[in-house]
Symmetry: C2
Subunit: 133 residues, 2 copies
DNA sequence: CCTTGACCCTCCCCTTACTGGAACCCCCAT
DNA sequence: ATGGGGGTTCCAGTAAGGGGAGGGTCAAGG
């Protein structure tokens, strides 16, 4: 069950480039064949799958590093995992709020804009210093 | 009414560094005093205010460049502005959707997690290949 | 045995939108 | 003259990879 980078890429959904990058920054340490090809074992595959999912859920690489350490530590406290997750959830909420505020402002301006050949444009007015609400 | 970079920074809310960067990439072109200090005029101030607001609404620098060109073009069609805005609104919506999906998944896992001293952790299980919904 | 195409390798620069820092100049008040 | 608070340039770094050059390797087919 020794896999090349291409195989791992297919199974994890990560690109080969990404996997090499993860090795560079020390998240995985595959073995090497005599021809310098990376050789991934079961455990490497598990880690990379884990990383793929954690990244897809928006965790930073740094969070991933910590989560992975907890994942591998049989004596972890689930509280530690939950804390990282809660912090991340709060960041997600903050981002959603920001985006919703932007969306509200912009869609308001956009609705006012005729969107035709004429130059008058409430969007540009809103973006300029012109501060009437 | 000639302003130094610090004055402009205070009035626009942009940091001096950011303003220099905007000059670097050609978004503004302040004059120069004999001592090499940048000299900003009214129009520069307007442009930078515009940029500050557009950035705060999440437009990319590239969008800003286009919007600024339209802002300065008295013969623009408001349709062009609206198109950039609509595209941006769609991107915002997509991001919000992504974030909400992440949030849903993560908060579900988080709720299942005891968050105590014990190692059992549904969050880690969810992140590993363990694919039971 | 040789070639072809699909893999794999390393190394380096590019991206976004800035931010930080070093090393230096300028002006005014003490 | 010295101190502080402006200003200037340039260099390096961030997150998380992406793109591409230039080259080695492997397995199958002719």
């Amino acid at each position: 069950m020794n896999l090349n980078i291409g195989d791992v890429s297919k199974r994890t959904g990560l690109r080969a480039k990404t996997i090499r990058y993860y090795e560079d920054i020390g998240l995985v340490t595959p073995l090497r064949d005599t021809n310098d090809y990376r050789v991934f074992r079961e455990t490497d595959l598990h880690k990379l799958t884990f990383l793929s999912r954690a990244r897809a859920l928006g965790f930073t690489i740094d969070d991933c590093r910590n989560l992975l350490a907890l994942y591998e530590d049989e004596t972890r406290a689930s509280a530690d995992v939950k804390e990282i997750t809660s912090k991340h959830l709060k960041e997600i909420e903050a981002k959603i709020n920001d985006l919703q505020a932007m969306h509200a402002t912009l869609s308001h301006l956009s609705k006012e804009c005729a969107g035709d050949h004429r130059p008058d444009c409430p969007i540009l007015e809103g973006l300029s210093g012109d501060d009437r609400r």
